[in-house]
Amino acid sequence: AQSVTQLDSHVSVSEGTPVLLRCNYSSSYSPSLFWYVQHPNKGLQLLLKYTSAATLVKGINGFEAEFKKSETSFHLTKPSAHMSDAAEYFCVVSSLQGGKLIFGQGTELSVKP
């Protein structure tokens, strides 16, 4: 069975400081992992995906995530937060190509001026 745990329900950072959103996963198979973002009143947007190629994955808007099998983690980072990064972020796992996605609980990111 697959599952995802996002370790923080809410993270607050100051503009210009680094962002770290933590995610741990559990999977019986070699997983595909994703980060999605949802801005207020918008749909879910794919930030980045890991599908067993390079362990450091670069996404849109300066975000990246590192797949660490030994730690079963897939944390999302960004060197410098921008006000427009304020949103809810979801860590997601899919065990089968084309199969259902399993979502974490979401992390609300606030960015202070």
């Binding site: 749909g43 879910l44 794919l46 979801f90 259902k100 996605l101 979502f103």
Partner: protein
Amino acid sequence: EAGVTQFPSHSVIEKGQTVTLRCDPISGHDNLYWYRRVMGKEIKFLLHFVKESKQDESGMPNNRFLAERTGGTYSTLKVQPAELEDSGVYFCASSRPGTSAQYFGAGTRLSVL
């Protein structure tokens, strides 16, 4: 390329009424998925179509929910009769054959009073 479109964006109905949600996937995406987020909970899978066939409907909560995808194009999700606990945001997503990344619509917010 047009994204996944859903309508209505918001529906308010009374308990016992019927509501039909519609999803138009990205052109050429054989895979179509429905998900739901109930207030305060994580986003959960409802079902998966491959073209017009139901590949996985393990997430459908009960027989008050009926999903169809006639002709393998757009899909509808009907709730009949609606109950208070059906309130939430219903998301549709689509993907190309043989790929894992899913692209989401903006969602339909359903409020059952």
